[in-house]
Structures are given as C-alpha cells and as structure tokens.
C-alpha cells in the first residue's frame, strides 16, 4: 500500500547560478489538498513544475505513487517521464488550450494519442468532463470564442479526461478577470469535494483556507512553514509568514521599503 501520492526529497533547482529551490522535502498523501503560497519569486511555481518534471530538478528526487521520475543512478528516460505524467493533470495560469481545436477536440486529443482510447470512447469521456465543468453547450467553440473562465474550465476538463491521480493547479485563476474567478474556483472546489488529490499554487487566500488540508508557505527557495489552514492563517509562527499574511490581507498597509 503506497500512502504517499507524491514524495519529494531534497529537491534543488537552479537556473544558471541562480538557485530557486534550496532543498525541498514534502509529501502529498492520497486525497490530500495542498496549497502552496508565498511571495512572487519564492519558487512555488518552480516547485509545482518539478512535480511533473516540466522543470527537471538539478538534484533530489520526485516520486509519484512510489515511482521515481528518474531512478537514482539511472538515466533520464523521456518515455518513462511522459508515461508518469499521464497520472498527473496540470492546469496552467494561461490555460494553454490548443487554438486550432474546438473545446471538444482539445479534450479528446491526448486521450486518443496518448491513452490510446478509441475516438468513440474519447468523445464520450470528453463530453462527460465538459459537462462536469458546465460547458456542455460550448463544446464546439474554439478557444478564441470562449471567455477566460470558460477556457480555463476546458483546460481542467482536458486534464481530467486523462483520469489522472493528482491534479496540479499553477495559479489557475491569476490570469482571469475578477468576475470570472468564481466559476473556475467552483469547479476546483467540486473536484476537491470528490476527493481528488491536489496541489495548488494560488493567491486566493480565502479559497486556500477553505479547500486546503495543509498550507505550505514558501519563501526564497525554502519551505518556511506548513500547517493546517485554520492554524496557519490565525496563528502563524514564523515572522516571514506573519508578514506575508498581513501583507496579503491588508495590502494598503504595505509601504515600499
């Protein structure tokens, strides 16, 4: 029985001489919802992108369901990494839908090409998930004909159609107009309620508190503090955490220094 869905050990990531992640250890248990927060440049998006090897760590290991992306001592195998990625859905800040395909085709493509489902089956699955994100009516629209919120919901359906075991959300609502944020958060919340294992990077603190089982606060390449949401937001222990929370909750009090 594998308890940890994702296991990260001593993860380091540098771009050139610039070290972004300075030794990260953490675990995501099955069904757990982890929210990563922190100031910009703290490394939280890089960490998330290391979880499906979109960024290749400089050192350290990432395991998904007990399987390494790259076994220690072994060589990087693109095929193995690609097949492991099918277990991990990812939703991007900028949606990244394929512009030449309709919403439906976007959700079908990888199912047929990668999961090797029949067109018929892929179509049924796609319709199911588009329906789930509330876009049954808009399946035949192209991304350019959809609002940001609708595009992001298609992107979520596209990831879900692969039936992954974990979902990663990289600031999924940051690029949206404020009035469209709600519809996307609602879909994510429903997913959370169904028991999906999730790791989210977000700036929506209220949402983080409501949905998260555990909050991880990152600053300057380290995990500074982690804890249960209620405890974390009401009673932060670390000075930097306190500063960050008060800054987010009362941005008007912050003066440049």
């Amino acid at each position: 029985m594998v308890n940890a869905m994702i296991e990260v050990k001593q993860l380091h990531k540098s771009f050139g001489s610039n070290e972004i992640l300075k030794g990260i250890d953490f675990e995501v248990k099955k069904g757990e919802k982890i929210v990563i927060i922190g100031p910009s440049g703290s490394g939280k998006s890089t960490l998330l992108r290391c979880l499906n090897y979109l960024e290749r760590p400089t050192s350290g290991s990432v395991k998904v369901e007990g399987q390494y992306f790259v076994e220690p001592q072994n060589k990087f195998s693109e095929k193995h990494v690609a097949s492991l990625r099918t277990e991990i859905g990812m939703v991007f800040q900028r949606f990244n839908l394929f512009p030449t395909m309709t919403a439906l085709e976007n959700v079908i493509a990888a199912q047929v090409k990668i999961r090797k489902r029949s067109k018929e089956e892929a179509r049924k699955t796609a319709e199911h998930y588009l329906n789930k994100v509330g876009l049954a009516e808009r399946m035949d629209h192209y991304p350019s004909q959809l609002s940001g919120g609708q595009q992001q919901r298609v992107a979520i359906a596209r990831a879900l159609a692969m039936e992954p075991k974990v979902m990663l959300f990289d600031e999924a609502t940051s690029a949206l107009d404020p009035e469209l944020v709600g519809e996307v958060l609602k879909v994510i919340r429903e997913l959370a309620d169904e028991g999906m294992t999730m790791v989210l990077v977000t700036h929506e603190m209220k949402f983080a508190e409501e949905v998260g089982d555990r909050i991880i606060f990152m600053d300057n390449g380290f995990i500074v503090e982690e804890g249960h949401p209620k405890e974390f937001f009401r009673n932060p222990k670390n000075e930097r955490t306190k500063a960050f929370i008060s800054q987010v909750e009362h941005p008007e009090n912050m003066v440049a220094h």
Binding site: N52, L54, E78, K79, A82, S83, R85, T86, I88, G89, M90, F92, R94, N96, L97, F98, P99, T100, A109, A110, K113, I114, R115, Y142, P143, S144, Q145, A155, R158, A159, M162
Partner: protein
C-alpha cells in the same frame, strides 16, 4: 509604323494556344511537385536547425548559405548537368558500367524543391519559434513526448501560420518555372521561343507568354488570400 500595323495577335494566339496549354501543364506539374518537395525539405531543415546537435546545425547553415548565395538558374543548370555526373563518378567506384542522368523535368523539380526548401525552412523555423511555449508544456503535461508534441501540436500550428508566406512562394515558384527552359524542359518559355524564332512574331508571342503567366499567378494569389482568411479565423 509598319510594325504596329502588321501585328497579328490572332495568328500567334491560335498557333501558340496548344503549345501554351501543354507548357502550362508542365509548369503546373513542376510547381506542384517542386513545392511539395520544398515543404518537406523546409520542415526537415527547420527541425534540424532547432535540434540540439551543433554539428547538424553547422552543416545545415553552410548548406543554406550556399543555396541562398547562388542564383537559382545556376543551381538548376548544376542539378541537370553536374549532379548526375558526380553521382555517376561515385557509383562507378563499385560499378564501372554505371550510367546515370536526370530527366530535365526531374532535375528541374529537384532544383526548385531544394532552393525553395531552403527559403521555406526559415519561414517554418521562425513559425515554430513563435508558437507559445505553453503549447508544448500543455502537451508534455498530458503525456506527449517532445517529438509527439512537435508533430501533433506545434507543427500543425506553425504550418498553418506559415500559409500566407507559403502562398507568396508558391506564386513565385510558378513564375520561376520559366527558368526550366534553360535545362530544356519544354515549358511555356521554351515553346514560345521556338515559335517566335520560326515566325518572327516576336512582340505577339512574348506578350501572350506574359499574359499566360498572369492568367495563372493572379487567380492563384487570390486563392491563397481566401485560404489565409479561412485559416486565420481561429486562434
């Protein structure tokens, strides 16, 4: 103004029409075959130049410079007269009795395809580079390998975005088929030349020739514009 009074377009047109149609057909064939070859070569060179191999990159850059630094006409002549000789020389090491030539049409198609392929490769390469990196990332995150994401996600978009420029090159190529006359492909120009020198209907023949090119290239340019509009509707 005897010359003007003696113009006889009707005779020239009637006599040239079958020749022109035949020549036109050859030009169209050479263009279709040459352009397909050019797209294939263009895509392959573009991918080679985007690969991580420095050696491959270097070889391709040298090749591109040679092709772009010499006239198309010289390349066609080289392809027709020299390349078969070179191939013959090499193969004769093993098989002394080996003989080899290109048909004029084949040499012309290869010459046009390679020359245009080099220019198209730059179009394809910059089109690939202009596709948002997020497209590749989305594909990789869904489990595509780099190769799969290139061929089924990035390349189709890059080609689609290149269509307007491809269209310009296609119209240019159909006009450049006139150069094939120099390697004895019996296309429009060569046939018209033959007729003009036999009848001395010089003004008429070459004017009709010029119009014949316009008759193909103008509608073709229009078709490309419509295609472009259709393709760019989304995204």
């Amino acid at each position: 103004m005897d010359v003007l009074n003696n113009l006889d377009f009707a005779t020239a047109f009637r006599a040239l029409l079958p020749d022109l149609l035949g020549g036109l057909w050859i030009s169209v064939e050479a263009t279709v075959a040459g352009f397909i070859l050019a797209v294939v070569i263009g895509v392959l060179i573009a991918l080679g130049r985007l690969s991580k191999s420095k050696l491959l990159n270097g070889i391709l850059v040298v090749f591109l410079e040679i092709v772009r630094g010499t006239p198309l006409l010289v390349q066609l002549v080289y392809m027709y007269y020299v390349v078969p000789l070179l191939i013959m020389l090499v193969v004769q090491f093993w098989q002394p009795s080996f003989q080899f030539t290109f048909s004029p049409f084949l040499a012309g198609m290869l010459g046009l395809g390679i020359n245009y392929g080099c220019y198209l490769s730059e179009v394809v390469r910059s089109a690939i580079l202009s596709i948002d990196k997020g497209q590749t990332e989305a594909a990789l995150a869904l489990g595509y390998t780099n190769r799969q994401s290139m061929w089924s996600i990035v390349m189709p978009q890059a080609i689609r975005n290149s269509v307007p420029v491809f269209g310009n090159y296609l119209v240019m190529m159909i006009k450049d088929t006139s150069l094939l006359a120099f390697i004895t492909v019996s296309e429009l120009l060569l046939r018209t030349q033959t007729y003009a020198s036999q009848t001395f209907l010089t003004i008429e023949s070459y004017t009709i020739l010029a119009l014949a090119y316009l008759v193909i290239s103008l509608p073709l340019a229009q078709i490309m514009r419509l295609l472009e509009k259709r393709l760019l509707k989304h995204g």
